[in-house]
């Protein structure tokens, strides 16, 4: 279809990569199971890219690989962010050069209050939005600042998880199904927020099952199927391409 690998094999990625974030020939495994089977793509600065695909296609695995989590293991491939090689880093190092992941199961830390969950994000530099500013964005969190994070309602937890990413000064935001479990009004709010921070130059990869909504927001779309990229192009292309939508997105 439309995979456009634009690197030659042995070139120095830092110089030739035109993109802000680039992933090149990445292979990821959970133990012995081979999940992401050699994907390459680029994300330009300030872009919102929607990463779409069925359940189990490998979207989460891709994001986790980029964020350098312990699992899955990336056995082969390169990941560059703003001329820095992420593929040699541990997750905390990747975070410190500006990667922010909002994980799919939210990962609110048990035993900590809402505020402590946010403070935790501001311990290691670089620090982003102030906590007060985050409360302005999500007033519900401000009201519940002393409550233990895990007792929040599902939607509130999602807000906290996004807020926590913004509390750090990040260059790329990786969102794994951020709308899940949110009331439609809140989804509207978050969408606005994403537009807003995009204007300020934030680069975003958005994984979302609600493909229509995601495509309306995104500049570009990448579709994954069983660990490989089956489409990489603009969001309009997907919206216009009936076959593609029917086959991979059922919309």
């Amino acid at each position: 279809m439309n995979v456009r690998p634009d690197f030659s094999k042995n070139a120095n990625r830092a110089e030739t990569a035109p993109a802000f974030l680039s992933v090149w020939d990445m292979h990821s495994y959970y133990g012995e199971s081979y999940i992401v089977q050699g994907i390459s793509f680029n994300v330009h600065e300030g872009e919102i890219v929607a990463l779409l695909g069925r359940n189990g296609a490998g979207k989460t695995t891709t994001l986790r690989s980029i964020a350098r989590m312990d699992s899955p293991q990336v056995n082969h491939g390169e990941i560059w962010l703003d001329h820095q090689p992420l593929h040699n880093m541990a997750s905390y190092e990747a975070a410190s050069v500006g990667l922010g992941l909002v994980p799919e199961d939210r990962c609110i830390i048990p035993g900590l209050t809402v505020e402590e969950n946010l403070q935790l994000a501001q311990i290691a530099p670089p620090i982003g939005w102030s906590i007060e500013r985050l409360y302005d964005l999500f007033p519900r969190l401000g009201e519940r600042r002393k409550q233990e994070g895990v007792t929040l309602s599902g939607g509130e937890q999602q807000m906290l998880s996004i807020a926590r990413a913004l509390a750090r000064d990040i260059k790329v935001l990786l969102l794994d199904e951020p709308y899940e479990g949110l009331a439609p009004v809140i989804v509207d709010e978050i969408e606005k927020t994403l537009r807003h921070i995009k204007e300020q130059g934030m680069t975003t990869i958005l994984v979302e099952q609600n493909a229509i909504r995601a495509l309306q927001l995104a500049d570009r779309a990448i579709i994954l199927d069983t660990g490989s990229i089956v489409f990489d192009g603009t969001a309009e292309e997907v919206l216009e391409n009936e076959g593609l939508r029917a086959e991979y997105l059922a919309i």
Partner: protein
């Protein structure tokens, strides 16, 4: 009345020993979630730091004693410590006398090193492994450490007395208006109590007034996410381990004058310290300290003759009995946090 005050004093003292040992264990077990069966060994190594330093200080050369013979009939010799040669006899003698307090300084770097090496070299790989694996590896380590000490120091207890200034006892009863000789208390135990209070206070302060404690707690609950927030949790775990080892070691150093150290003293304390930590509640430092004092005091009361006469054998089982009652009435011990090692 005086008997009761006496047992409270005793209990406080015993309790401070329990609390101090449990404190170190809580840092590793209650906070890092590692079932550390080698904790007793750390306590024991601390005690042997004191033994080693006093041996080093009294390193001697032999001087023949004219006119005397040893048990085999050979000419007898007398050992003269090198410190006598360096500092003269009076200063030298008091340096040797003060070996145990001096060992505190000696033990801190050693224990931190031991803790850090242990964490980096071994425990690090076991955070994500099942508790069962942690038990096996730390138990193995405890045996190895213990056997090494036994190999070099023998199995017999090694007397390591407190400085002469602290060897007497103090007539506490006379001070507060009881008959003399009713409430006496050894000086060193008062020192131990004070020392424990200082260490406990310092550890509390460190974890309360810095974000360190929060980060480590968070890291234990969810390492991955803390990593995502740019925090190098491994480093902090290592520091925590070093700290815990130092606390355990210092508890050991200070304990040597109370009971002569031997190679299995760690195992003797191990089970008890797990009981204290769990009764206090997993993950709670104040809980561990409180439980230490509570069990210490109750144990003291249960060992009173008057009590044993009424319930024979109560002194044998009191700690376990109290532990059972507390755990049955309070699901997570005295002050345990929810979800820590509950499954």
């Amino acid at each position: 009345m005086d008997a009761i005050i006496l047992q409270i004093l005793n209990g406080l003292d015993k309790g401070s020993a329990y609390a101090l040992i449990a404190l170190g264990l809580t840092l590793i077990f209650g906070t890092l979630g590692v079932v550390n069966f080698a904790h007793g060994a750390l306590f024991m190594i601390g005690a042997f730091c004191a033994v080693t330093l006093s041996r080093l200080l009294s390193l001697s050369h032999e001087v023949a004693i004219p006119g005397q013979t040893d048990f085999l009939g050979n000419p007898a010799t007398r050992d003269v410590p090198y410190v006598f040669d360096i500092f003269g006899e009076t200063v030298g003698a008091s340096i040797i006398d003060w070996a145990v307090p001096l060992s505190i300084l000696f033990a801190i770097p050693i224990m931190i090193l031991v803790g850090v090496v242990m964490e980096r070299g071994l425990i690090k790989h076991f955070y994500k492994r099942p508790h069962a694996d942690q038990i096996l590896v730390t138990f193995g380590l405890a045996i190895v450490l213990q056997e090494i000490i036994k190999y070099y120091y023998g199995a017999n207890p090694i007397p390591t007395p407190a400085p002469a200034a602290f060897t007497g006892s103090f007539d506490f009863g006379a001070v507060i208006g009881f008959d003399p000789n009713t409430i006496i208390y050894p000086y060193w135990r008062l020192v131990y109590f004070a020392f424990a209070a200082v260490i406990i206070g310092a550890v509390f302060a460190f974890l309360q007034f810095t974000t360190f404690g929060m980060v480590v707690r968070a890291g234990m609950a969810d390492r991955e996410t803390v990593g995502l927030l740019g925090i190098n949790i491994d480093k902090r775990f290592t520091i925590m381990f070093g700290l815990a080892a130092a606390v355990a070691g210092l508890a050991g150093v200070m304990y040597t004058p109370i009971n002569s150290p031997n190679y299995h003293m760690g195992m003797d304390f191990l089970v008890l310290s797990f009981v204290v930590v769990v009764v206090g509640g997993m993950g709670s430092l104040p809980g561990a300290v409180l439980a230490g004092f509570l069990l210490g005091i109750l144990e003291s009361f249960a060992s009173m003759r008057e009590v044993i006469d009424i319930i024979p054998g109560i002194n044998q089982v009191i700690i376990y009995l109290v532990a059972i009652v507390i755990l049955l009435t309070r699901p997570r011990g005295l002050m345990g946090r929810k979800g820590v090692m509950e499954d």
